[in-house]
Amino acid sequence: MSDKIRVLLAKAGLDGHDRGIKVIAAAMRDAGFEVIYTGLRQTPEMIAEAALQEDVDAIGVSILSGAHMTLFPLIYKAMEARKCTDIILFGGGIMTEEEMVILHSQGTDKLFGPGTPTPDIIAYVKDVVARKRKSEKII
């Protein structure tokens, strides 16, 4: 039996809405993932540390407060400080294509715009985790 996919989901920034991310968390559970939900207003340090302790395959962060351009790179830095940039970092927020390109170049693996269907996000995680595990086995 292959290992369960473990995903950490967090909200960063100051907005206090967690309905959306909870829907995604439940959908991921129904897709067979083990989802560690950490709640609202998580700092980059808290997110990276929780990901390390939980040994997740991927981190998903939702930022709707408009601070995505600063927060995503800070999360990646906090991951670097813990030598765990091999963990996949993906996220969602209200942002432009250009911003996504910049964030991608600064370490975030994948960004989803508002209104992305949840099954697409789940399919992405499944696929990217499978590929990561395969390449780790070869090494």
Binding site: D3, M28, R29, A31, G32, V35, I36, D55, R82, C84
Partner: protein
């Protein structure tokens, strides 16, 4: 193994990776466990159990915040249920554990129950061993909390705290004996709600009835996990209980019993697996099955025959 060297040096990522390895029963996990279990271990293990939503995680958070201040290194294992249909799990205990950010002293790991029904996951005890070998002073285990008595916790902990809330009256009625069996300390959480005092005195009567006046009693403690009210008292009660059981030898007895149970159950698991495997290979059951159909034998004789076939001369029951 490089991972083990990093682990010995206190690397948290190595700890986390080793836990995953063991949780997933990956190849070689028993060898790793065997090595790790020989490292120095000193942790005291506190179990927190109680119905869903009683405030277990919130209490762990405030307990740990208090204890980490004293310089102790603390490991937390929080178990939530896996879905029996999809195998997935939503592990939400960390939401209530936001004060535990002191990464050098506190390490939290969420575990999905993965089909286990006693309140822990199958690998929880191994994960406790790993945290202990990493150098934790205290390990706190939060059980699933599915509203029934979760017995596994007494096989994994030194002191068990049962958390109840003023609304738990019915549950207490139906599970009275079982609750007394597992609780070393009762905690009534949500004392900001009506009925808390009554529950505390009801529990204290129950404790007194059971223990009489000759053993040391640990009265129920009332807490408000959100405001922190009463958490000092709870933590005092836990350390008094520790001193008490260490002093009178119960601690050692318990650990011995747990170790024996653990080893025996591991042997038993393997015997059962081997036996199933052998019976499959031998085709034993096929032939018996046809005899059963034709009425040549009956289930009781058949069971005796299978048992004798594999165990005659080897076991006392044979």
């Amino acid at each position: 193994m490089a991972l083990l060297d990093d682990f010995k040096r206190g690397d948290r990522r190595a700890l986390s990776k080793i836990i995953t390895h063991i949780e997933n029963r990956r190849e070689g996990y028993r060898t790793i466990l065997a090595q790790i279990s020989r490292f120095e271990r000193k942790a005291f293990r506190i179990g927190i159990t109680g119905p869903p939503g009683a405030g277990k995680s919130t209490l762990v958070d405030s307990l740990v915040a208090k204890l980490a201040n004293t310089g102790k290194k603390i490991g937390v294992v929080a178990i939530d249920p896996s879905s029996p249909f999809t195998g997935g799990a939503l592990l939400g205990d960390r939401v209530r554990m936001q004060h535990l950010a002191d990464k050098d002293k506190v390490f939290i790991r969420s575990m999905a129950s993965r089909g286990q029904s006693g309140g822990l996951a199958a690998a929880t005890r191994d994960v406790i061993t790993v945290l202990d070998a990493f150098g934790m002073d205290l390990i706190i285990i939060e059980t699933v909390g599915i509203g029934q008595i979760e017995l596994d916790i007494i096989e994994a902990c030194d002191t068990v705290v049962v958390i109840l809330v003023p609304e738990s009256g019915d549950m207490i009625q139906t599970m009275k004996a079982g609750l007394m069996e597992i609780a070393d300390i009762f905690c009534v959480n949500k004392i900001d709600r009506p009925g808390a005092d009554r529950l505390v005195s009801y529990l204290n009567n129950m404790i007194h009835e059971r223990l009489g006046e000759f053993s040391q009693e640990f009265p129920a403690v009332g807490t408000n996990a959100v405001s922190g009210l009463g958490v000092d008292k709870l933590s005092d009660a836990i350390s008094r209980h520790r001193d008490y059981i260490v002093g009178n030898g119960m601690f050692e007895q318990r650990r011995k019993r747990q170790l024996k149970n653990e080893i025996l159950s591991s042997v038993r698991d393997r015997i059962v697996k081997d036996l199933d495997h052998m019976i499959d290979l031998d085709g034993q059951f096929e032939s018996i099955s046809s005899k059963l159909n034709s009425g040549e034998t009956d289930p009781y004789t058949a069971a005796d025959e299978i048992y004798e076939h594999y165990f005659r001369g080897r076991l006392v029951n044979g």
